[in-house]
């Protein structure tokens, strides 16, 4: 006998947990299946940036709406998720970098948003006293910040369960078919039937879409991170490189987290990934150039997790183009964490109302 629900969500990352939570809070019966454990991949191992700064134009309305939810995250999931309003700042090292930031600032202003502000050298060094003096300017989003990714995903998971979601971990969806308006999904622990299917499969979301006859060029990736031993407090905001890959932040416990998009080697078959130190050398070089104080920091850990990206670096969000009663939210291309809260609300809107107030046309699956 198969289990039944109103909605079956596939994927227990932050998008899946957030979607399941919001849908369940609207009174529907939700089953959420996760092939490993919740937050095992991108949601649990990302850099934790909660950022509107430098987002692709189509993502800005979503990021702005999501940021409002972040600023009251405890009301949403009953946990502060380690969220800190630290600000985020992109740093230009030369005239070309500064020109990039100036053009960006103008673009965002033209769209009617105020959250990205240019700062000159003086203010730059006030915000970042330890920054190397060769830097020339920055672009800051003062109300951006960071959170603890694994704790956040766990908070969404707990809230979802409390809202009545039937969470099934170590349960892998293996086959999808639809008959008489009902999805029948085969899993490693029995079949599940539901009229509505929500695909939040992350790096495996492309495989779910393919099962629905929708091929997307989703490429698995393995962003890498380094963590140092505890350092005296020397930097408050999250720092982003311009022209060089860098995302850099000091955690409340003093450790420094270094990311920025250098990629390791993903292995989606084995659900694992490995780090590539050749690229971490470049990352270390960038940090050493921007923050000379960091040369003495001990790197104590590195890690990578499985993520995925689409060629245009924005996600798929919206209804299936081939099947009724199916919706997608995947392919966040290494910057989906901040969007987690709003994506849940969008998916709940789509499932219960068939539409959403936010502009998601740019994220349609049929664009490929």
């Amino acid at each position: 006998m198969s289990a039944t629900a109103d909605v079956l969500v596939v994927g227990g990352g932050i998008q899946g947990c957030s979607s399941a939570l919001q849908i369940a809070r609207r009174g529907l019966k939700v089953i959420l299946v996760e092939k490993n454990t919740a937050g095992r991949h991108a949601s649990g191992v990302n850099a934790g940036g909660v950022r509107r700064l430098l987002r692709a134009a189509p993502e800005i309305p979503l990021a702005v709406a999501s940021m409002r939810m972040w600023h009251d995250i405890a009301a949403l999931v009953g946990d502060d998720c380690g969220f800190r309003v630290s600000g985020q700042i992109a740093v230009a090292e030369d005239a070309a970098g500064l020109a990039t930031l100036e053009a960006r600032a103008a673009e965002v202003r033209a769209l009617g948003y105020e959250h990205e502000e240019l700062v000159g050298r003086n203010e730059l060094f006030e915000i970042l006293p330890a920054l190397s003096r060769h830097c020339v300017g920055g672009l800051v989003a003062r109300d951006d910040g960071f959170a603890s990714p694994y704790h956040t995903t766990m908070a969404f998971r707990r809230a979802a369960i409390a809202a009545g979601v039937d969470l099934r971990e170590e349960c892998r969806a293996t086959g999808f078919c639809r008959a008489a308006s009902i999805w029948r999904v085969e899993t490693s622990s029995g079949a599940i039937e539901a009229p509505i299917l929500v695909n939040c499969g992350g790096a495996w979301g492309g495989a779910v879409a393919a099962a629905l006859g929708e091929t997307v060029p989703l490429e698995p990736t393995a962003p890498m991170m380094m963590v140092t031993s505890r350092m005296p407090e020397f930097v408050t905001p999250v720092v982003i490189g311009v022209g060089r890959k860098l995302s850099f932040k000091q955690m409340p416990n003093g450790t420094v987290l270094i990311g920025g998009g250098h990629r390791g080697v993903p292995d989606t078959e084995r659900d694992s990934s490995s780090v590539d130190f050749r690229k971490l050398i470049t990352s270390a070089r960038t940090v050493s150039d921007l923050f000379p104080i960091m040369r003495e920091a001990q790197i104590v850990r590195t890690w990578s997790g499985i993520e995925s990206r689409l060629p245009d670096d924005v996600p798929v969000i919206g209804p299936s183009s081939t099947e009724e009663g199916a919706y997608h939210a995947f392919g966040f291309s290494s910057h989906g964490f901040q969007l987690g809260p709003i994506v849940g609300a969008i998916m709940a809107d789509l499932v219960t109302l068939g539409r959403t107030e936010l502009p998601i046309e740019a994220f349609r699956i049929s664009r490929f």
């Binding site: 031993s229 130190f277 070089r285 050493s288 003495e296 590195t302």
Partner: protein, 465 residues
């Protein structure tokens, strides 16, 4: 960066023997070691000691002195040697990344032998993190490297051959020893008896004789020696002041400012884990060991493991296993064929079997007490992040299924030791809480760097890469 025929990591008995046989037969071999001089933990400081302090060499005994021959043969072999170098990454593509004298470098090889030896099993009893509490191995390092003796009376607590050896060495060196609290249980003593005949027949007699001699020497030394001790607990607020324990149903308390704990050694698994090798659980010795064949080959071509890091066998067994792995690498390299390898291996095969014959008896006799593996809730198990066994059990109750999730929940294993010290205990505590076998619960996912490396050092590799 240079390409070697073979890189051997670790200059203990296995590594020294392997590097020697490789270089003697013409292979371009490099031996890398953390210590400033060859010998590993067991023969630490042997060259200097032999040259400058023959008196102390005599105190440490003939088994220790055997290391001098091994080191001499290595020195004569022509193998390249990089002491004072910390390996912080080994890849399946056979690259070794290391740090020495403030610089990092990469070396490539056709074959790599991991001979990283053993580590002392963590002994998380209440109070084990107090200043004044050390491992027996640390006390022995002091003894070997500087001849230093503890200035306060020392309490030795735990079980295993090293504990008795250290007791005898302390007595011979004139160190003050206030008590030996022996946690070997009566049940272990009874169960081990079944393995005694095979140990005797198989060639383990010298070990048994040495054990008896050690016990005799300790008894002669007149030290208080309490058997069948349970419920060790070290007291103190800023430092150890006393140790309490139970024996024969009575609780006793001894003043103790200096305590050395020991419950045997287990394979050092950071490197074999980081390489993603399979590990099996040894239910008697209560530890993981990497899966390797009789020559030390792992599942990754050209990556071999020998000596205690492949499974505890002791120094002499490690020496034979190292030589066997060296011969196998020579075959990999095409320097000898399979028949020559087998012929050259014959005496080491016999030696290895003889030295391993006593292991089932020793493993059973000194199987660690359960409360060390699965300590009480109050006991800190991750020292870096100060996480207790109770905290780990609490997250298991919340749905945590294994060590890696516990790490995400609690940060246990994320400190500077990178889980080296808490890993075994975290696995056992979770296995206990879930009532599942350790093999299923698994271990921390180990990622490089295996030892911390400064960001500046990594950045400076930019020029060469």
């Amino acid at each position: 960066m240079s390409a070697w025929d073979a890189i051997v990591i670790g200059a203990g008995p296995a590594g020294l023997a392997a590097a020697s046989v490789l270089a003697e037969r013409g292979a371009n071999a490099l031996l890398i070691d953390e210590q400033p001089a060859p010998g590993g933990q067991i023969y630490r400081g042997i060259e200097q000691l032999a040259a400058t302090r023959p008196g102390l060499l005599a105190v440490l005994g003939p088994d220790y002195a055997h290391g001098a021959d091994l080191v001499q043969r290595f020195r004569a072999s022509g193998a390249a040697y990089l002491p004072g170098s910390t390996v912080w990454q080994v890849t399946p593509e056979r690259e070794v990344w290391l740090s020495g004298a403030g610089r990092s470098a990469r070396h490539d090889a056709k074959a790599i032998l991991l001979a990283t030896g053993a580590m002392e099993r963590p002994v998380p009893v209440p109070g084990w993190t107090l200043p004044g509490v050390m491992t027996a191995g640390a006390v022995q390092i002091l003894l070997k490297s500087s001849g230093l003796r503890a200035d306060a009376p020392l309490v030795l607590a735990g079980s295993g051959p090293l504990l008795y050896l250290l007791a005898q060495q302390c007595l011979a060196a004139g160190a003050r020893l206030s008590a030996i609290l022996d946690t070997t249980s009566a049940a272990n003593e009874r169960a081990a008896l079944a393995h005694l005949p095979a140990a005797v027949v198989g060639g383990g007699l010298p070990y048994l004789r040495k054990g008896l001699q050690l016990r005799k020497a300790i008894a002669k030394g007149g030290v208080k020696w309490v058997r069948h001790v349970t419920k060790l607990r070290i007291e103190g607020t800023d430092a150890a002041t006393a140790i309490t324990f139970e024996s024969k149903g009575r609780t006793e308390r001894l003043p103790a400012a200096l305590v050395a704990l020991h419950e045997g050694v287990i394979p050092a698994q950071q490197m074999t884990r980081a390489l993603g090798l399979d590990h099996s659980w040894d239910a008697v010795a209560q530890c993981f060991r990497p899966a390797v064949d009789a020559w030390g080959n792992s599942a990754i071509p050209g990556i071999l493991v020998a000596g205690d890091s492949a499974g505890i066998g002791g120094a002499r067994a490690a020496e034979h296993a190292g030589r066997l792995a060296g011969l196998e690498i020579l075959r990999h390299l095409g320097r000898i064929d399979g028949a020559a390898r087998d012929r050259l291996a014959a005496s080491d095969r016999r030696g290895l079997a003889a030295h391993l014959a006593v292991r089932p008896f020793l493993d059973r006799l000194y199987a660690p007490p359960p409360d060390i593996l699965r300590p009480a809730d109050e006991v800190t198990i991750c020292r870096c992040e100060e996480i207790t066994a109770g905290a780990v059990r609490a997250v298991v109750a919340q749905g945590c299924q294994g060590p890696n999730q516990a790490k995400s929940f609690l940060r246990c294993g994320m400190g500077p030791c990178q889980g080296r010290l808490c890993g075994p205990t975290v696995t056992s505590v979770i296995a206990g809480a879930l009532a599942r076998p350790e093999a299923e619960v698994g271990y921390f996912r180990i990622r490089p760097p295996l030892k911390p490396v400064t960001l500046g050092e990594l950045a400076d590799m930019d020029a060469v890469e």
